[in-house]
Symmetry: none
Subunit: 323 residues, 5 copies
Amino acid sequence: MSEPMARTTSTHPGGLAEIPVRRFPRPALSRLGLSPGKRTRLKRLLYDHGPGGGTLLVLPIDQGLEHGPVDFFANPESLDPQYQYDLAREGRFSAIALHIGLAEKYYPEFAGDVPLILKLNGKTGIPSDAQAFSPLTGTVEDAVRLGADAVGYTVYVGSPAQDRDFLQFLGVRRDAERLGMPVVVWAYPRGEAVAKKGGKESLYAVDYAARVALELGADVVKVNYPVASEKDKESPPPYNTLGLSPSDAFRKVVESAGRALVLVSGGEKVEDADLLHKVRLSMDAGATGIIFGRNLWQRPKAEALRLTRELHAIFREYAQPPA
Amino acid sequence: MSEPMARTTSTHPGGLAEIPVRRFPRPALSRLGLSPGKRTRLKRLLYDHGPGGGTLLVLPIDQGLEHGPVDFFANPESLDPQYQYDLAREGRFSAIALHIGLAEKYYPEFAGDVPLILKLNGKTGIPSDAQAFSPLTGTVEDAVRLGADAVGYTVYVGSPAQDRDFLQFLGVRRDAERLGMPVVVWAYPRGEAVAKKGGKESLYAVDYAARVALELGADVVKVNYPVASEKDKESPPPYNTLGLSPSDAFRKVVESAGRALVLVSGGEKVEDADLLHKVRLSMDAGATGIIFGRNLWQRPKAEALRLTRELHAIFREYAQPPA
Amino acid sequence: MSEPMARTTSTHPGGLAEIPVRRFPRPALSRLGLSPGKRTRLKRLLYDHGPGGGTLLVLPIDQGLEHGPVDFFANPESLDPQYQYDLAREGRFSAIALHIGLAEKYYPEFAGDVPLILKLNGKTGIPSDAQAFSPLTGTVEDAVRLGADAVGYTVYVGSPAQDRDFLQFLGVRRDAERLGMPVVVWAYPRGEAVAKKGGKESLYAVDYAARVALELGADVVKVNYPVASEKDKESPPPYNTLGLSPSDAFRKVVESAGRALVLVSGGEKVEDADLLHKVRLSMDAGATGIIFGRNLWQRPKAEALRLTRELHAIFREYAQPPA
Amino acid sequence: MSEPMARTTSTHPGGLAEIPVRRFPRPALSRLGLSPGKRTRLKRLLYDHGPGGGTLLVLPIDQGLEHGPVDFFANPESLDPQYQYDLAREGRFSAIALHIGLAEKYYPEFAGDVPLILKLNGKTGIPSDAQAFSPLTGTVEDAVRLGADAVGYTVYVGSPAQDRDFLQFLGVRRDAERLGMPVVVWAYPRGEAVAKKGGKESLYAVDYAARVALELGADVVKVNYPVASEKDKESPPPYNTLGLSPSDAFRKVVESAGRALVLVSGGEKVEDADLLHKVRLSMDAGATGIIFGRNLWQRPKAEALRLTRELHAIFREYAQPPA
Amino acid sequence: MSEPMARTTSTHPGGLAEIPVRRFPRPALSRLGLSPGKRTRLKRLLYDHGPGGGTLLVLPIDQGLEHGPVDFFANPESLDPQYQYDLAREGRFSAIALHIGLAEKYYPEFAGDVPLILKLNGKTGIPSDAQAFSPLTGTVEDAVRLGADAVGYTVYVGSPAQDRDFLQFLGVRRDAERLGMPVVVWAYPRGEAVAKKGGKESLYAVDYAARVALELGADVVKVNYPVASEKDKESPPPYNTLGLSPSDAFRKVVESAGRALVLVSGGEKVEDADLLHKVRLSMDAGATGIIFGRNLWQRPKAEALRLTRELHAIFREYAQPPA
């Protein structure tokens, strides 16, 4: 692993003793092989909006498609997409990420206030995930037309449907190249074979997914934080015996992502202290930012904004000038 | 749920005591993110034809394809599509909805009298619905060429064939965007997985379908009225224990549809009193209108026109100026 | 059912007593919603060639593809396509219907003498019909290039492959619209689900197929004469208990076809008297004509021409001026 | 000339004695060879908006391009295009006719209230008219996208640039056919050769221009009222000796336009009495309506609305049911 | 002319007495009929970069193509395009405007720091301007690919080559519409006919040019400040006798531009005091900003930055919140 940039101390909110932490640098924007258009747009997200300083704080709202309205019961206000748009603007997020329908119908009055990441594929959670594949719901040209600053695409790494998935992504990646649009890949391990090799949350699977995104041409990769479990024994060697600490495991994933910037998923709602700790661990490991949805909008706006301010405060610690 | 606009009283036609009802507002046309062309055409349906006042009364006649001529036995006259065209014109419907063949062969003499919603996909009811998918029967350009004011598309939410369905819809949605044509999505839960989670009429399924239509870019969404049953226990939480009243359940669906206007399906023929009661409940909950076929044309024209007049009378109560 | 135009008497050639028959009118050419090009070409078939008077007498020769050369053993001359071309010219048929190969290689010397219906899709009879689907063998532009006056397309109604079939037909229908070419749909019920609901010859299946052709945009629909059987009990209600006479059943099919003109298939070779009786029944019920192959060319030319003259004589009785 | 439909009397507003007038019928919509889309859109202009009854009252605002802002000095309010839009809505015009820039920037808030005729070509009045040619400023697809109900195109009949003009119009006409969009041709004689044969206002030139529009495929033709002058002697025979009355001359032009509906231009501002007299003469001669700009918006709105009401009153006299 | 928003006092830097000035409002962004993409990008220029507050301070560097390197002798550093890029970044301009070559080769290291307006057409100053026409040097897709926030296009209003010019612009305008890219039109009167009607700096010519840009679909129009002269007598009435003050003349131009935002050209280098005075007059008249090249980069950077700071100070006085 590469040398950390600095050593500081970090206190676990649960009251654990201070432990020295290593901070790993994020890849410099100038070394990512970006065309001028991709660089212009990505820099806007990293420096002109949100916490800035080269970090990303993204609010996703694609759960209505992926999970159905079930996720909005925790905070009934959140059923109206305007809630998330308001939160993104008032909370000064780097961007909001969503599908074409929520962009066409709600974005116009926020145009220019909140950067847009147009999610280009998705699926419902109703049929089984055994052959997971997310068909296109929008195009890179839609994203350009709407003034978006990036596109999002889910690759189901390891799915039996990966043939169609890679080919579909090829089209997106080429359009994005032609139009100077950064590509954020939701790199999700899925499918029967993944389940047999430690599961979709195993380091083996997450690490592999991060690398696949890099190899296919992602500019930014969104990953889940790997979770160690008994099932890791079913992963191929040496993953089955690595036994890395959570932060070392995540650092491993960041390294596998290489020059693709790393975003950490929030997943289901957890305790605030745990959430903030996870953010620090991720940033220490070289992540560029987070993409947290339910953990933010599944609560009243005042509370969500309070937490967002805490996130801004953390990100400020990790601010770096453009390079 | 959002605050109702007004409280009035409503009498169930079956003679039940008056109960106070809440009326929820419909989304304002100016806030739907519509391009000028979509807005022009949708406004025509909402204000220049039919009951007007921002409501929709649509007559569908695609059952000959979906179910076969079996639906026409109840009223033999209805086998001739001219019957439905005459009914739509004499009954001053907002629009008639049908496939390309019935448009090409019967619309010319009604051109300009009855607005046209060209249904763009469909299937026969002969094979199983396990992998439900409706292939295209027409295109957005056909609709433009014929002078239609909207297009209709069926999405089978939850079907294992959703990959092809979403991709096919993507093409329709983009053509509609390019040509300024409003898109009405028939959002129908279908398939094996839906059957296992409460069934296609459950609130879980209908609510999810409404949200999917919004996320994919529908301007108007046609849903079935959810029906509570024992099978709701098989729906994912919290749907399995919600126990909402019919009107609260439908209000929930309208909220999930967000800025997509909601049309209620009629389904099979029922008692007039029940039908009119359902219309009032739907409109109170914020629906924009109804799309009733069999309940209207499965009866002699004089009788159908009488019922249509009653529908006009109800819609007049819900009229609102353009906003 | 609509009122018959006139009552006359008809004598069954087998010697049965005279029975009064009802004659139903055919749809007027001017009311079929045809573009000028479609109307020009269709009028040529209906009035300038064949028996005229708004009738159609079509000679098909696509059995070599659909069944193989097996059908030509009954009359070895018929193996040479020139036989059917000669028969069509000498017998003054309204048109000959065949695939691109037989058009390219044999039509040139008959160009202008015998109108051409280019059949655009087909398949061999070798694999099972469970997933019946006929891929394209030619295009509408081929038909234009060859000077054809119509195109033919087989839709397998109810087949599990209906997705591909409808989409393929969409392309044909749109090209035909653009180029002013009438479309004749071979509307054939097929597949496992059809077999379970009364079979491909049941009224349920034939009636449904006729309506599907109308909804998809056929200008002319070719149907098989429905055959009552014990299996009708497996059809959905009310078809399982209708018990219509053959002529009433066929009249039902003609009504379901609406403004698509109806052609009756000949099918396997039968007794001449039965064949002619079937023709009269069909024409009485409002059919526009017949498309008989094996019943004509599976016999020596002189005999075929004799039968053709009888058919001309019958058609003259049903002649109507253009309207 | 064809027989007039009726004889009534008309009083010249200037006080002349009553003279019996002949009224010539307008072509019936059903006989114009219109596709369903063209018919739907044209019927909307003729019956659903404006004075209705099959007449057209169109407000053009393309003078800012054609003449420059010079035309707006007479009424400074008119410099703001919103003035004309407001006038069109409040005065219930059949349509407003203008170029893409005024449509994109001002139409959205009037979408659905005022029908739009998108003018597709134009030029500045700065260079000489010797080689008059108006290049495209928009496309038929722009018109569809914006929800327009017709497109307008200027043909400079007789211009040395007619080669490019006809070819450019060919593309417009074909797109309009494909998309069901009615085409209004501004048929203007222009160029050196026209000047030598009696000039652009001569009956010879106007009559020829009307016929050219018909031959090229116009659905509606906008002509200037021919003006007799000494220069008529330079027109080819027999125009040089016809000596028709103004109303007979205009009737001649309407007959030359055949099944293209005729709109009369207003031209420069004149006395109201003369204007209204010209309207009556035009309608008596079989014109379908008028397209008056400067005569209406070169005055304060109250005054313009007063005159508009007078025009509505006149048009009501000429109302006919759809046929 | 419309009513001014406010009256304040302004002091001519040359020491003239204070005179009350009228301030006219700029069009609100929300009323410009902009698609979400155009609005997002234009808002970025108006509010996120440069002086902000809805103003524009643009640095053009297309003189090397238009005039040749001759313009760079005044400040030899300016020959290197990096000079202007540095000036744009250090001086916090709203955008830099230039051709594809200077974008491809110099923009990458400024990507995201300085917004880019890609100029899409241009010409050399070597041949005569009699038939002035600027051919394309880049495309809207180039602009998207590079991450530009607007495109620029020169229309030579009144040129005999306006046919080609309008047609070329049509393609640019449509691509810009499709991709959500704002269009800045350099509206320049040119050509023999212009020269005969008062010349390219006359109010007649500038006023006409502004209106043409609006009608053709410009989102922003760049005009020269009109200059009164003896030649105005050759302009068409009433321009030949208007005798407006400079500020009233410019206000007239702003009104003719309607809902196209107005940028004022700098032209040749003048005294700073005159320059700043012109800026104030322009902004008072409702201009949105300025596009000054030679007046800024024809001097050493320190001096250019000092002047830029003065411009920022002025623009701050005219700042308005988004509306």
